[in-house]
Assembly symmetry: C2
């Protein structure tokens, strides 16, 4: 049996009881280690907690070594651990499809991911549109496909969750060219960088998807002991020191409910100023005012 | 301290290890028992598993009895358990705000909810638009505010997760009028009812938000041992026997990735027929074809 098990967001103890019982009975345990990290745990602390060896699965192994991961899983149990939930921002459907081809049964044991835990900031999950990803810009590569998606969400009044780039085990272009397996230190995009990139693309595209005054929420270390939210304008967040990773960013849509706003006010510097930002931002993409139909009986 | 703890979707062992450790040290443990249910556990099995009394918190207690729940939480620990995640489809931000007013610290311990675990059907979470709720129609009350939201999502190519009505501890109109605290048996909307209601509203509104042939996914007992997915047209799901609750429904958007389609094909009766449905449905809301700008040098 192949077990896909979500680890949650931060601590080794964020695994579910059922997940832990399953890991402990598995013959081999893989940890998908390139799309996210557990903020308050590492491989050593996981191994100690599980009482088991944990095999790090990098992108190469997951994308090309499915058969290696699945080896023997028709006879005994193999666990594949994923930070957050199993089918979160990165899906591992390929591995499951390969298991099915080989006649290997599978089961998922779910957990929290940023996609649902982000509700902790007080914004209602069903008011979010599509989630977008923001990657690190370089001098020559500034992908802005996120911009149209934010615009689509904002046009219909919805909030947008922006997942920020995580670079783990990346090679420099020089090392890649020379075939040297030397990896750069991990990089995690922070709130200031994300906000600056957003402002840079609005400056370039000028389609008014948002403005420097659009209200946003910085989500830092969600689910960890040092979880922090900060609600402010995009412009202010461009110089915000968010501290240690991981971070995500939410851009508000026009449809902000009073209860959402009350809750967010816990995380602002100046409540009145923030409420004013929200009210001003609601002018964007506002539907036209309703005009009553002319009463024909009066027009005679 | 007030702990808000997500229980996950199905088994008592779906609580996280950290959640369980926390419940066990709390002086009082409340279970929010009106917005969802654990599919493979009940209050008795939870009490046995925790070694603790569990107090059922109905809507009345949660909405008007916050101070009762929070009593003493400045001196000792109180747990408030929520099926799924803490801030999932229903948010408990009111309780947190009241705790803050009373100077009581709080902490959330997250878990899976339908909002992220639904990724298990193979559709990518970041391709979903806003989530909508579908309530039971009566002869005189057929709320259709979901329709415009589905239309908004479909216009920009996104999938829609539809959460289906759960009625727990509801009074009949007669019993309510007579002030009798007699409650109806719980009701959980099934896939066929949801699909019929969707078809009824399209028939009435005629804005072509979707058609009887629009491809959908029935999600049944997500995260439980009998979890089942069924992908078919809306029309076919209107007569689908989905079995025991709980159920959710997904309506696909135009943007279906090949990997998503390959995965969904595990859950169809006829792969070719389903692929044809998806291709046909992609004609709706298709952006206009790109027309190359006229070359002025040739127009002379």
């Amino acid at each position: 049996m192949l077990y896909l098990i979500g680890l949650g967001l931060s601590h080794e103890t964020d695994i579910t009881v059922r997940g832990l019982e399953t890991v402990r009975k598995c013959k081999r345990v893989y940890l998908e280690a390139y799309t996210s990290i557990l903020m308050a745990a590492d491989v050593l602390s996981l191994e100690k907690f599980y009482g088991k060896e944990v095999i790090l699965a990098d992108r190469e192994l997951v994308e090309t070594g499915a058969d290696q991961i699945l080896e023997g899983a028709d006879k005994y149990d193999v666990a594949f651990l994923v930070v957050g939930d199993v089918f979160g921002a990165t899906t591992h459907t390929d591995l499951v499809l390969r298991a099915k081809e080989l006649g290997i049964a599978y089961e998922s044991i779910h957990n929290a991911s940023v996609m649902n835990a982000v509700g902790a900031c007080g914004l209602q999950l069903y008011q979010f549109g599509q989630t977008v990803s923001l990657v690190f810009f370089t001098d020559s590569w500034k992908p802005d496909s996120f911009y149209s998606k934010v615009l689509e969400n904002r046009k219909i009044g919805l909030h947008t969750l922006l997942l920020l780039d995580i670079k783990v085990k990346e090679q420099s272009i020089e090392n890649m060219a020379r075939g040297r397996l030397i990896y750069e230190p991990p990089r995690y995009m922070d709130i200031a960088t994300a906000s600056q990139q957003l402002l840079e693309i609005e400056e370039k595209r000028k389609e008014n998807a948002y403005t420097p005054d659009t209200p946003c929420v910085a989500v830092s270390r969600l689910g960890s002991p040092t979880q922090t939210f900060k609600a402010a304008s995009l412009k202010d967040l461009a110089s915000y020191d968010a501290g240690e990773p991981l971070h995500s960013l939410i851009m508000l849509g026009r449809q902000v409910h009073d209860l959402e706003l009350d809750y967010l006010c816990q995380f602002v510097d100046d409540k009145t100023a923030f409420k004013n930002l929200v009210v001003a931002d609601q002018e964007w993409f506002k539907p036209p005012a309703w005009v009553p139909p002319e009463d024909e009986s009066l027009s005679d």
